[in-house]
Structures are given as C-alpha cells and as structure tokens.
C-alpha cells in the first residue's frame, strides 16, 4: 500500500503543476533469446493510457506464441487504468498459449495488479448480440407500438372504472367525493385557463372572419362571414381550441403531478393506507375537467364570435347589430349543442390519457419528461380524432 503511495508521490502532493513533468507512456520491444521482452515506461494512468491503448491491442493480437516478459520496472506511475492495460495484455497472451511473466512490479503494483486481474473475463462474455434484419426490427417496432396502444386502452378503461368506483378501496367510511379538491382543481384548470383561451379564440375568430371576408368580397357576399364564423366557431373551433389548450395546460400538469408522486412512492403509500390512488388523485381531476371544459367552451365560443364581430366591423363595415341579426338567422340551438356536447367527452379523454401516462412514470427524471410529452401529444391527437368521429356521427344522424 505504501509503495503505491510512493509511486504517486513522485508527483509531490504540494506541487500543483506535477502533471507537466509526466513522461508519456511507451512500449519498447526487444528479443532476448527465445523470449520477447516488452519494456514499458512513462506514466500509465487514466489520463495517459489512451496514448498506448491501440498499440497494446495490436500486441494482444499478434499471432506468435513466443513466451513474453512484460517489464514494468521503468513505469513511473501506475493506476488502475494502466494496470488494466498490462493485465489485459498478459491475459491475451496467455489465452494465445504463451507464458507471460510480469517483472519489476513495485510493491504498489503487486497489490494493484491482482486486484485488476479479477476483472478480466473471457472474451466470449462480452460478445454483442447481432442486430436483426431491418424489416424484422421495423415489424417488431410496429408490434410493440400496437401492444402498447392496446395496453394504454386497457389502462384507460381501468382508470375510468376505478374513478367511477370512488376513492376508497376498502368498503369503509369516507366520502368518495371530496368537494374541496374538485373545486381547487376547477380553479386551477378552468378559471386559470380563461385568459389564454379567450386570447387564442378571439384571435382565431378574427383570422377566420378576415380570411372569409377577403374571399367572399369577390362575390359581394361579405355578410356570409357571419354564417361562416358562427357555425365554425360554435360547432368546431371553440371546443377544439379549448380542448387543445386544456390538454397542453392541464394534461401535462396531471401527468407531472401523478408521475412525481409515483417516483417518490406516494402512490404506493396511498395504496398501503387503503385508498385507491386513482380515486384519490384522478377522480377530482376528471370531475373538475368534465365541469371546467364545457364552461371554458362557452367562453371560447363567445370569444371567437367576439373576434369575428370585431373584424366584421373594422374590415367589412358590418355593424354589430347586423352581425347579431344575421347570426340569429344562421345559427340555432342545435349548432351550439353540437359543439358543447363534445366538450365533456374531450375532457374525459384528456384526463384519462394524462392519468395513464402519469401512472406509467418510472424511476428516472427522463421518464417523467417523456411521459409528460407523450401525454400532451396523445391527448391532442385523441381529441382531434374524437372531433372527427363526432363530425361523422352528426352527418350520419343528420344533426
């Protein structure tokens, strides 16, 4: 032990620029009778071994079965990395059928080399698996994606069922509904989202009105922008924009909250206490979403119409009275409900997708980030697909 310390002592502890005095590692080969002598010199430590790694590997691969002496007496410093190279060379030569002798090991090296030798394994153990044909890999990817989509669906239905079942796992006291938690969530997910929803929807309403007016002007039919904005906003835009905003705002929050609780075993603690974690964590959020999203949709509808009305006044000179008058003619209650009915379903989908992703979070910070991302992407995707399904459904029933 002390010997090794003395090797390291060649650079005095109190001299900071000791590294400048290092000699690079070197290998000198010479023949001595029937034996090959490899004389190593210089500093063989973690910082310098990359200089000789390639050369050492070449020596390991030589075909000759001559007996070998590795002389390390001229090595100034040796640490585990240097010792590894020496032992790796020795092991390779022994495997090739040669006799190997290591000479000139200092007292420190005599403790270090055997410690390193234990890590040498037969080369077979490190052989890599061959990558399969790319078509197979592609099919495997497809299969995995299908399976995980199916498992997500199962998990989603499980969460929906567990939510409906309520908070407590054991049939005991306690209320399934915790009004305070639900109102808190409505405040965060609904009230907190009003400014951004109003802003986005009024801008989109204004853009649609402006584009419509510009095109319809050619036909002298500018007044029909009211029909355009009114039907588009109430049936599609209001609810779709709201759902996308909520998926981005609240879906990510739900996944992150549940996911970080999983990482710190809080979800397991809930289970052990006898509570259904999905009932406790997911239920208030789902209820809050189902209440908040339709309300937000109504606000979004108003904001979209407001933006359209403003552009109609400023760009096409249609006064608000005429706009509202025309709106009465083109839109009826069924148009409003066609949009509004979709809102709770979208809220449910966002909440379930976000909760499923949150429950899938594993131990690492990276997995949290990955699942939050996929929660937002998946819920926006599902919301748009759902919107399309509703459109087909309405056409089929003539709504």
């Amino acid at each position: 032990m002390t010997g090794l310390m003395l090797t390291k002592d060649t650079a005095d502890a109190s001299s900071s620029n000791s590294d400048n005095r290092d000699h690079p590692p070197a290998i000198h080969s010479r023949e001595e009778g029937s034996r090959t002598v490899w004389q190593l010199s210089g500093t063989w430590n973690t910082r310098s071994v990359h200089l000789v790694d390639a050369q050492m590997r070449e020596l390991e691969r030589t075909k000759a079965q001559q007996n070998v002496v590795i002389d390390i007496s001229a090595v100034e410093r040796l640490d585990t990395a240097g010792a590894w190279l020496v032992e790796r060379l020795a092991a390779a030569r022994i495997n090739a059928g040669a006799d190997v002798e290591i000479l000139g090991a200092s007292e420190a090296a005599q403790t270090l080399l055997p410690a390193v030798r234990r890590a040498i394994r037969s080369p077979e153990s490190s052989s890599r698996e061959r990558q399969p044909f790319f078509l197979i890999r592609w099919l495997e990817l497809l299969g995995r994606a299908m399976e995980s989509a199916w498992l997500d669906f199962i998990a989603g239905t499980y969460i929906l069922g567990a939510t409906i079942r309520g908070a407590q796992m054991k049939l005991g006291r306690g209320h399934a509904v915790n009004p305070a938690a639900i109102f808190n969530q409505i405040d965060r997910m609904g009230v907190g989202a009003i400014p951004v929803v109003v802003l986005i929807c009024s801008i989109v309403g204004a853009i649609v009105a402006q584009q419509g007016a510009y095109q319809l002007r050619w036909f002298g039919a500018e007044i029909f922008i009211v029909d355009l904005v009114g039907i588009l906003a109430l049936r599609e835009l209001g609810v779709l924009l709201t759902a996308i905003m909520v998926a981005g705002r609240s879906g990510s929050a739900i996944t992150a909250e549940i996911g970080s609780m999983r990482m710190r075993e809080e979800v397991d603690a809930l289970k052990v206490i006898g509570l259904n974690p999905i009932g406790v964590l997911v239920f208030p959020r789902l209820v809050a979403l189902v209440i908040a999203v339709p309300c937000l949709t109504i606000i979004a509808n108003a904001a979209t119409l407001g933006g359209g009305m403003l552009v109609a006044l400023l760009y096409s000179g249609i006064p608000p009275e005429a706009f509202i008058d025309r709106l009465h003619a083109s839109v009826d209650l069924s148009t409003i409900f066609a949009g509004l009915i979709k809102a709770p379903f979208m809220a449910l989908i966002i909440g379930i997708v976000a909760s499923v992703e949150g429950m899938k979070v594993g131990g690492s910070a990276e997995s949290l980030g990955r699942h939050v991302t996929s929660a937002v992407v998946k819920s926006i995707f599902v919301v748009i697909v759902l919107d399309g399904l509703f459109a087909m459904f309405y056409v089929a029933i003539g709504f």
Binding site: T2, M5, D53, T80, A365
Partner: protein, 279 residues
C-alpha cells in the same frame, strides 16, 4: 489503532506524534460559514493526511454536511481558505481547478447517480468529460471499476432505479473512482445499509485505500466504521473541530457529547467485540 496505520508509519518513517510532517492532502484553515445571521462553522481548521481514512462525526445539525459542501465549493464561505493538494481553491486558475477536480471523487449520501443514465454511463460521465479515451477502453474501465467495488458485470446496463440501496452506494462509489482520484469524500456511505452490507462496504473502502492509494474523508455516524476502518477521527461540535485523534484518544476526551458517543452503551459493545476480533 487500526492495523494498517502502524505499518504505514514504519515504512515512511513517520510517527503519530510528528503528524505535522506528513503530507497534507486537504487543509482547511479558519473557515467560517454562515447562512444569513446564523453562523454554522466558525474559524474551523482541519488537516487530512495522505493515505489515511479520516472519520468525521458530530451530532446531527452541527454542520458536517455543510463543511463537506464547503470544501467541495458547493457552499460559499465567509472567510478562511481550503487547500487541496497544495492548491488554494479560491486563488486557483481554472486550469488548476480542473486538475484538482480530476483528483477528487465524491460519494453523495444518496448516491446522486444520474437517473437517466445506466450505471456504466454514470461511471463514464467523468471519463467523457476529462479524458480522450476510445469507447471500448472506456467500457472496459467502467467494468473494471464495477468489479473493484464488488458489483456484478450485469449491473452495468441497469438504471439506478433498478438497483437496491447497497448497489446504488457501490455504483456511486465506482463513479467517484472513475478517474482514479487521490482523495475521495464519502458522505455517510453506510447509512441505509444493513450491518453486514455496511461491514462489507467498510472493508471495501479499506481495500481500495490499500490498492489505489486513496485518501478518504468519511462523514459517518456508524460506530462500526469508526472503530474498524478509520485511522483518525475528527469530532465536529461548537462550530469547530472539537478533537481529533485515534479511537483510543477519543476514549480520553471529557467532552459530554464525545463521551456519550464513544463511551456510550452501544460504543462499548462494539469496542469490546472489535478488540476481541483483533486478539
């Protein structure tokens, strides 16, 4: 007296009474640390000598972790200086700091392994940062470090979340040893391990000290570690180092906390069994 120390002194011609002449690896001088008005450490001085295992104890909340973090530069100090390998860390140029950083390894209390990387990648982080090693050699060195800390090779491709508490400590130690440091800081290395695992870990620290020539600064509460592997013990109390010396020295100290710590019921039992083992 732990068995390795007399050996060391005989060979290097040093004696315990003449501790001042042994090479000092880490020197803390008159360090004061305060958070706002609350002074945690005041004019604290401490030397760590080459090749020793220093055990650092103190009641909870006396600032052991603060001192460790101050030495590592993670907590700013009000006054005083910290020298590692003769380099004053406040005056050091960036180049000198990097050279010092490469010679220091740290094992944090909870491992602090990067959760997004496998164990092997964790060990390779410092290698990638500082060294220019070819990939196959880096893999080999990572596996070598794993072997040295007593982890099986198949742990290399696992993520930290898949490891047990003891394996996390060992993997974190392997990362601390990635660059073959001269000085390692261990923050409560045996906390959260079962007694057998803790004893193994102590033995591992001693073996590594002997094979790699490490100097070890170990914050610990584990009386077993203090009695079995530490060459020297420093006690933190009253914002400075109360006493430092061997276990036998601790037995003579009359400070109430030190007395109850080293001569309490638990300590006596361990001491007796440790002495029985030696004889």
């Amino acid at each position: 007296m732990p068995d390795s120390s007399p050996d060391l002194m005989r060979q290097t011609g040093e004696t315990n009474s003449d501790a001042g002449t042994r090479p000092v690896v880490l020197s803390v001088r008159d360090v004061t640390v305060a958070f706002g008005e609350k002074v945690v450490l005041e004019n604290l001085s401490l030397d760590v000598y080459r090749g020793e295992i220093l055990g650092f104890v103190g009641a909870s909340g006396t600032g052991k972790s603060v001192l460790l973090r101050t030495v590592l530069g993670l907590v700013p100090k009000k006054s005083g200086s910290v020298e590692m390998f003769g380099v004053d860390l406040d005056d050091a140029s960036e180049q000198e700091r990097v050279l010092v950083d490469m010679r220091v390894g740290v094992l944090f209390q909870h491992g602090a392994l990067f959760s997004a990387l496998t164990v092997k990648e964790n060990i390779q982080v410092p290698m990638r940062e500082y060294l220019d090693l070819p990939k196959p050699l880096m893999d080999e060195l990572a596996l070598l470090k794993l072997e040295m800390v007593g982890l099986p090779p198949d742990a290399a491709d696992k993520f930290p979340s898949e490891l047990s508490g003891g394996m996390i400590k060992r993997a974190a130690l392997a990362r601390a040893l990635a660059l073959d440091p001269d000085l390692v800081f261990l923050d409560e290395p045996t906390s959260g391990l079962d007694p057998i695992g803790a004893a193994d870990f102590d033995e591992l620290v001693r073996t590594l000290r002997d094979t790699m020539g490490l100097t070890v600064y170990m914050v610990t509460h584990d009386l077993d570690s203090l009695f079995s592997v530490c060459d020297r013990i420093a006690v933190l109390g009253g914002k400075k180092v109360l006493v430092d010396g061997t276990v036998d020295d601790m037995m003579q100290v009359e400070d109430p906390w030190v007395k109850s710590y080293f001569r309490g019921k638990r300590a006596r039992q361990i001491d007796l069994s440790a002495r029985a083992e030696v004889n």
